[in-house]
Subunit: 690 residues, 2 copies
Amino acid sequence: MRSTCRSLVCVAAFLVAGAFAWADEGMWTYDNIPASQWQSAYGFAPSAAWLERLRLASTRLNDGGSGSFVSPSGLIMSNHHVALNCIQNLSSQGHDYVNEGFYAATREQEPACPGYEVDVLLRIEDVTARVVAAAPQSASDEAASLARKAECARIEKACVAGGAERCDVVNLYRGGQYHLYVYKKYTDVRLVFAPEQQTAFFGGDPDNFTFPRHDLDVSFLRAYEKGQPAVPAAYLAWSSQGIGAGDVVFVSGNPGSTARLKTMDQVVADRDAILPTRLAFLRRTLDIARGYAAQGEEPARRVRARIFGLENSVKAYEGFIAALHDEAALARKAAEERALQERVRADAALLSAVGDPWTEIATAQKQHAARYAETIYVGYTGSKLLGIAGTIVRYVSETHKPNESRLDEFRDSNLASLENQLFSPAPIYADMERATLTGQLQQASDVLGREHPFVKAALAGQTPAEVAEKAVSGTKLADPKVRRALVKGGTRAIARSDDPMIALARRLEPLAIAVRHWLDDEIVAVYDRAGERLGRARWAVLGKSTYPDATFTLRITSGVVKGYPAEGTTVAPFTTFYGLYDRAAANGNRPPWDLPARWQEGAGRLKLATPLDFVSTADVVGGNSGSPVVDRQGQVVGLVFDGNIQSLALDYYYTEAQARTVAVDSRALIEALDKIYGASALVNEIRAAK
Amino acid sequence: MRSTCRSLVCVAAFLVAGAFAWADEGMWTYDNIPASQWQSAYGFAPSAAWLERLRLASTRLNDGGSGSFVSPSGLIMSNHHVALNCIQNLSSQGHDYVNEGFYAATREQEPACPGYEVDVLLRIEDVTARVVAAAPQSASDEAASLARKAECARIEKACVAGGAERCDVVNLYRGGQYHLYVYKKYTDVRLVFAPEQQTAFFGGDPDNFTFPRHDLDVSFLRAYEKGQPAVPAAYLAWSSQGIGAGDVVFVSGNPGSTARLKTMDQVVADRDAILPTRLAFLRRTLDIARGYAAQGEEPARRVRARIFGLENSVKAYEGFIAALHDEAALARKAAEERALQERVRADAALLSAVGDPWTEIATAQKQHAARYAETIYVGYTGSKLLGIAGTIVRYVSETHKPNESRLDEFRDSNLASLENQLFSPAPIYADMERATLTGQLQQASDVLGREHPFVKAALAGQTPAEVAEKAVSGTKLADPKVRRALVKGGTRAIARSDDPMIALARRLEPLAIAVRHWLDDEIVAVYDRAGERLGRARWAVLGKSTYPDATFTLRITSGVVKGYPAEGTTVAPFTTFYGLYDRAAANGNRPPWDLPARWQEGAGRLKLATPLDFVSTADVVGGNSGSPVVDRQGQVVGLVFDGNIQSLALDYYYTEAQARTVAVDSRALIEALDKIYGASALVNEIRAAK
């Protein structure tokens, strides 16, 4: 009993100060790894040289994923789905590389990926003092924020002027730290290898977000400089042995963002109101799309991508909701929050600086939840033509205002990308539009009620089908030239237009813009302002003992190769090529479990017991796709491409109970490149990298 | 609106009158199949000849399972786990057929299974009128029951006297019908083939009750008559094609019993009180056993079977509880119950005959739930030695009473089997006894509280460990001779015994017997009496439009080969040999996923895409193990051996959402017999059966 602190405070400190419930939690910045935590959990902590090599070999792709150099000649390993845009863009009528796969046996055959950029993090510089000093103590929240943004821009500009290729000031710990990330940038990126999409994405949407899994979700790219293969500052060596169950692994990549810093009130509102409302909307929208698809082969083709996206979202939302019904996990989250609140209340200076952001957020959250359905339905989600009409009406009205008073997406800096979308010649199908618009109006009427002003304005006494029929068959908006003319014609052209879709949008816009302003000004603004003070409180109490939330910048995370309990048994941490052929045969080789011809023919050449995919407890979210998985030696043992269905929890909290990161096993990559694809030059290059 | 019945009654009739929520529900007696239901669901209803052949080819094994004749020479197919006792009994030091498997290439090599009996249902006779007439209208519940039992015995006796080999009057629909089942009986049953247990039970306890599954849980036996292979009245032909996804299948076997007729009050009490209390007991008892096992290899060996049994029970109870949290399923059950109650209330004669059994059961149920922990802990469950001591003390006291006043298991007719167990020389390990007894006393103290009379009597001021230590080290009850002497010595010997375990049992028995009498007289008797009237009500309203609850007599059930949603994806309805090798390789060939040597060597000889196990929606529970699965042609396509984890729901209600019956695929049986076991004579016999 020689403790000098009262028990409550000790408990609080224990709960909040980096003592994680699980050993493998955390997306750590490279300048702040939890060395002693790793040492005690794994009997291993990496050296500075080990860390530097992994950092310099890690790449970020501007398509939203991660990757790594795996040879001294600029060879980059990433996922098929990260390079998919490139593979698609390089395909032509005669060569569908998405379906057939691609392999350049020589460098001359490597085609450039249009618009690709690859970044390598060269160094991290703490610029917190400069950024914080830019805002005077007396400044309002808003003024301070503007001053800090301006200072960040100055720092970035000076950095580039000093010769760096890319410089980003990253706001970490929600304003607790500002770090300058200096990158080497490669803009000449070429395609070396891609398997058939059917191999990369075997099992399609049903198996998406699941394990056991049997995907070879890989692509190889090559960075070039001045027309020659780039010589990266570092690259990863390939493990000849691979990894085993129980082994520690590290993942280096760029997690995008999470909901982990939401308050308990927000989490509970998400669970009980926000996510279920959104899920109901998604499910019904999916029903509408499926109903349309059922009308024939051509409708099915037209709506396929939309159905895929909706199915993916439904699965994700179901996963989020399920995760938020894990009472033990929520109890841990609540205890952490209470402990932080205790610490703030016990520190008068901190309390006066941050106030009570929890209550402010809770108040906004209640209003948000109450009107959440309106934020979905009172607007233009669904029909493409109505979306275009609504955007045109709003465009004309917003661009009349001074730049700083406009909605974000209508500010001058964002107009080009908005116009790019608005004037896109992508095909629009009238029958699909009718089905979609009818469905979305019917949903709005069912959910908001027939007496809701938006529903009354939309239907004007008619049925949803009648409104959709008139608007779709009468509109000329399918033609981008008509859209341009309306935008050019401005307020007058809009007011005078007799296009029935424009007329519909005119009726809806006053209600839609009101909901949007309410959401931006009354809800999101509160979340932002209170959230920033909450971040300050967390930083004051926890500092660098914890990791900053994901920011799509380079992080390192650790984990163990480990199965998990599910469906009454234990899921093994590995699958093998045997399992790939089993899943195909068990499903009668029917899509999405059909094997490409070369895999059907090549079974006899493969060592079928070779591990194909494996899971680990590494803390990974979206943006980590394509991250290398390395062992203690820093050698490549795998390639992250997904998580299991339980890993959707990781958006809200870390858990090792069942959540797992899914990676392709490095042994399967070599075995398949060699025996199925005959990519011997590529195999030799990978194997030669030491 | 020309309906002649009021809407409420119509709804009630709809809900209760055979309009099942799922097409494949029902364990139908062979004399009452739902032909029109099957015709509309599958476009197929079997002919009388089809049904007769399947019935006459179906066998019941007295080891508690089912089977079928699959050749004109008496060859019987069943599960490995159904024939396990035989395989074990035939093994000797040099020949461990459980581990090594067994194959008799010639008839001369087929050894007899000691004590096996196989029954074939020859005919069904409705004797309801005779049985019901035996009890005068005026008789009390108890007198009527006795009169009916006596009449059943007379009918059975007369049947056997008439030359039948086995005759059982089966109480169907809880007294709604009494049918005489006349059997052909085979008592000379020999072993033909068994794979290694490791093949039959691949995946062991973790994979038990689960799917995807990779077990070859088969045995072949042969019935003999007068020293010659029996010539059965019918046998099943083997399908050369096998079954496909979406195909209808039929299962013929002997389901044991279910909890489907429990009232909603009972179901809710099971869910909220009974099952969780039992599960907590099982989990903690498992912890105690595992703690003992952790002490070394020999303790682990000693307690292995006990741990296996406990794990199995824990998994089953978890499955039951999960099933009872399916709100939609419970709502259906509740609606059915309300509908039945409506019908009873609307029929004055029926109401006066059956009263309100629901309330009577609910009242007893409340008392039962309140004292449920006592029914577990106030007694002798756990330590074998304490169990023996308690049985001896009770034996002496019970056998002093007139036969009809004794507890069931001490009645003259049951004494032989009780003595068989009581005087068994099976080894008893003192260290395991100490651990078990300490644990069970500690549990009783924790759950019932230290002030509970039973706990006070057991501990008498000492710790559980002290009580266990003294009782176990001082007792001589490990020696069966000592037990016999005590039983022989009677009341006096018990009273004078200074054996500390007997002394402990003497202290506990007054409390234990009180709980037992309360349970038998106040609770179970009410369930029985009220349950019988409830059965009468169901019979009056539903009659043969529904199926009688399982009674370990022959039933036919239908289903469709169909995967199901789980873990975010779709589980395919089949596994293949590829999957078997995948699961072994993915687990590093470690037990319980290790493959026997001949399977490791034989992979190259197998057609690996051959379907191994498959699931269907057939309505199957315990007792159906070994049942043949047949197609429309009545040909063998599979062999039932288990259900998935969700099939545990079938104890309480039928559901097709995820619950599936698991069977070995007939194609895998032939492929393995041929390519792995070289059992060509057996393969030829099966294939020749047309």
